[in-house]
Amino acid sequence: MELIKPGTRIPFTSYRKIAVILSTVINLAVLILLFTKGPNLGVDFSGGTVVQLKFQQKVTVPDIRRALESINLGGSEIQDFGQEGSNEYLIRLDRTSVEIGALGEQIKKTLSNQFGADKFEIRRIEFVGPKIGEDLRFRGIMSVVVSTIMMGIYIWFRFELRFGIGAVIALIHDVLVTVGALMLAHYEFDLTIVAALLTIVGFSVNDTVVICDRIRENMRKIKRESLESIVNTSINETLSRTILTTGAALMVLFALYFLGGAVIRPFAFALIVGFFSGVYSTIFIASPVILFWEKRQVRRR
């Protein structure tokens, strides 16, 4: 079977102006969204408490809210969680300073009075103090920034500076696109999202590596043609690999998204978006950066 016929020549590089404009607009939009509305932070980063409840039969969010009214929980948010019909709910509390051990017991007692002690269970409690939340937030951002820069340095070291810069810009693009998609889909940002972003950084740079490797090889082989033509040839030659590899990764990611459960779903979602973006950015962002750099060098000379 062949997806891409040998000898295919799609003039990718000639779309680069449109692509760069489009991506710049998207990235700016994400940045604006990030600094105005801000991301929806999970307890890992904002501090607070999450309690996951599972009921044996159907109850509604207002039922739970009414039941818990007697113990004043402060700013709380109750929502459906997990699959349809699993009767799971998530209570999110802003309050962070709860007396040791008191909260779970309180909720348990109150709900037992209302629904009966064996009609529900507390499946999960996560509490993160404000100081830890701040610390995790800082470390999360730093780890994404550091790994992005490391990738750039690695590519610079293995190839050339302009390839490294192209890779870094492509990675920033992928991270921003993923962050934007997560915000639009109303997913919370927590530690698993940071894990997803780092995986995207590590995986998306693979495409860049493969194409850069091919560009370098073709630069040695084909001397007469312009760099633009070489870049284009290289993208086309590696196109079927790009599609296949990302396709295989997407298959397992869709499996994780649909079957992996509610904890893994945001993680899988982020990776799906990031991997798509990774392919796009390697072809339409990293390559133009390399070409742009080349033109500047020529002009200088």
Binding site: I100, G129, M142, T192, A195, A248, V252
Partner: protein, 533 residues
């Protein structure tokens, strides 16, 4: 070439047998006893998110420990000054971490001598002389502060370990984390709320005299008289939440005795007269002290105070010898048992606060495992179908390599006794999807070389050779981000980083070298005319 390929094949066979041996303890729990004598007994452990349990991070309030220490030094100094007949000196705590000693001019030299001889751990940071008095400002030295902090954390760790041991949790993890935090993991715990109460109780037991001359209501309104303090006793259950009946007591602030000398604490069942109570056994020093105190205060009331809460304040009927005391109060048998645990294990040197908690119930863990396995099977099947459909024979080779990849990966995880978490399972599933990349790169190259008119043999050789740099580079980059993730992450996320990194190592080995060995063997067996790719 055949020789080299056969050697590699032998290595892979050995590795596979080794991997199977390493995985056996993970999948079969009831192994005969001879197994662990000369075969690996390590197994993959399930993370708290999969088997259920509590992950807690406690912060030890070390500043409180330092304050307590300073208070003790202040008392010592005051006593010492009195013993030596140096009068007119006042010792106050200022700014939380300093002592201010006001000395009349006549006694300055004697006080200075006392400070240098008996309080060497204090350093004089400032001296002010005005209107016939000299003020010494004393503070603990930097090293002293550091060792106090360390001691507070280490001692808390030890105490908490004792409490958890007595509470009965299998394979708990209790370790220091950073400057002043303690990490606790309690796998498979049934009642996390109760465990938290046992762990978090300071359990500072104090015996204080009740001032019967003072009127408690009056004292609550206008503040306690000098040298007195007001503490409350709570009727009924609960940790003194809203609505509980509280009774104020006016106590002499001086602590006659603390719980330090307790050697044992036992629950005594309830009788008709009273509910269950906790009987304390004191060591010989404690017994003597207790006897003296009771003898000196017959007919007075002595309050038994635990963490600033008055449990009871019985009247001392007579001198009590024999080193036994009891704590009564309105608690049920479970509370009494927990109280006995914390009293036996000793008090925490400083209060602790939970700064992070992640508790997962066992049923959620079961669900997560099921979901993890489901996505593993479905994701894996999709990749198998996809690879075989696209590359036929070569796809099948790649799929077999992926199976060995998973096998080696699990074996390495077992060998290092790694903890498998839900994100870790996601990492394994993701590895299946990413591992085929190497084979895709190789196969695409081989196809290219075949199209360029090479023979099968040289196409395979060129394919592997040309694809290798890109494969190595791309795996190194993913590995790097995995390492950074490991540095950054906590608990479950670390599990993901570990599977990601181990997966990359095994991917390079299986996807490149295992498949290469297969092709080399086929090529060397006979002249290969066609290849299914």
């Amino acid at each position: 070439m055949r020789r080299a390929a056969l050697t590699r094949l032998a290595l892979f066979i050995i590795a596979t047998v080794g991997a199977l041996l390493y995985l056996t303890p993970t999948f079969f729990h009831n192994l005969p006893s001879w197994w662990s004598n000369f075969l690996p007994a390590e197994r993959i452990h399930l993370g708290l998110d999969l088997q259920g349990g509590s992950h807690l991070v406690l912060e030890v309030k070390v500043d409180k420990a330092i304050e307590n220490n300073l208070e003790r030094i202040r008392a010592d100094l005051t006593n010492m000054l009195r013993d030596r007949g140096i009068s007119g000196v006042s010792v106050e705590k200022v700014q939380g971490t300093q002592l201010q000693v006001k000395v009349p001019a006549a006694s300055v030299e004697r006080v200075r001598a006392l400070l240098t001889s008996d309080f060497a751990n204090l350093s004089v940071v400032n001296t002010q002389t005005a209107a016939g008095t000299t003020d010494f400002f004393l503070s603990l030295s930097k090293e002293e502060l550091r060792s106090l902090r360390d001691y507070a954390v280490d001692q808390s760790l030890e105490t908490i370990r004792n409490r958890i041991d007595q509470f009965g949790v299998s394979e708990p993890i209790i370790q220091r984390q950073g400057q002043q935090d303690i990490l606790i993991q309690l796998p498979g715990i049934q009642d996390p709320e109760r465990a938290k109460q046992i762990i978090g109780k300071t359990a500072l037991l104090e015996f204080k005299l009740v001032d019967d001359a003072a009127n408690p209501e009056e004292a609550v309104r206008s503040g306690p008289p000098p040298g007195r303090q007001i503490l409350y006793g709570y009727a009924g259950r609960g940790e003194g939440g809203a609505g509980a009946d509280k009774t104020p007591y006016v106590l002499e602030a001086r602590t006659l005795m603390t719980g330090e000398t307790i050697t044992d604490a036992r629950v005594r069942p309830s009788s008709q007269l009273q509910g269950p109570y906790v009987e304390l056994v004191l060591n010989s020093t404690g017994a003597r002290l207790f006897e003296q105190i009771t003898a000196a205060n017959v007919k007075r009331r002595m309050a038994i105070v635990l963490d600033n809460r008055v449990y009871s304040a019985p009247v001392i009927q007579e001198r009590i010898g024999g080193g036994r005391a009891s704590i009564t109060g309105s608690f049920d048998i479970k509370e009494a048992r927990d109280l006995a645990i914390v009293l036996r294990a000793g008090a925490l040197p400083a209060p602790v606060e939970i700064v992070e908690e992640r508790t997962v119930g066992p049923s959620l863990g079961q669900d997560s495992i099921r979901q993890g396995i489901a996505s593993f099977i479905v994701g894996g099947a999709l990749v198998v179908i996809f690879m075989v459909a696209y590359y036929k024979g070569a796809g099948l080779v790649a799929v077999v390599a992926v199976i060995f990849n998973i096998l080696y990966m699990m074996a390495i995880l077992a060998g290092f006794e790694a903890v498998l978490t839900l994100p870790g399972i996601a990492g394994i599933v993701l590895t299946i999807g990413m591992a085929v990349d190497a084979n895709v790169l190789i196969n695409e190259r081989i196809r290219e070389e075949l199209r360029a008119g090479r023979t099968v043999r040289s196409a395979i050789e060129a394919g592997y050779q040309n694809a290798l740099p890109a494969i190595l580079d791309s795996n190194v980059t993913t590995f790097l981000s995995g390492v950074i993730l490991f540095q950054f992450g906590t608990g479950p996320i670390k599990g993901f980083a570990v599977t990601l990194c181990v997966g990359i190592l095994t991917t390079v080995i299986t996807a490149v070298y295992l498949t290469r060995t297969y092709y080399d063997l086929r090529i060397s067996a006979r002249k290969l005319e066609r290849i299914s790719i």
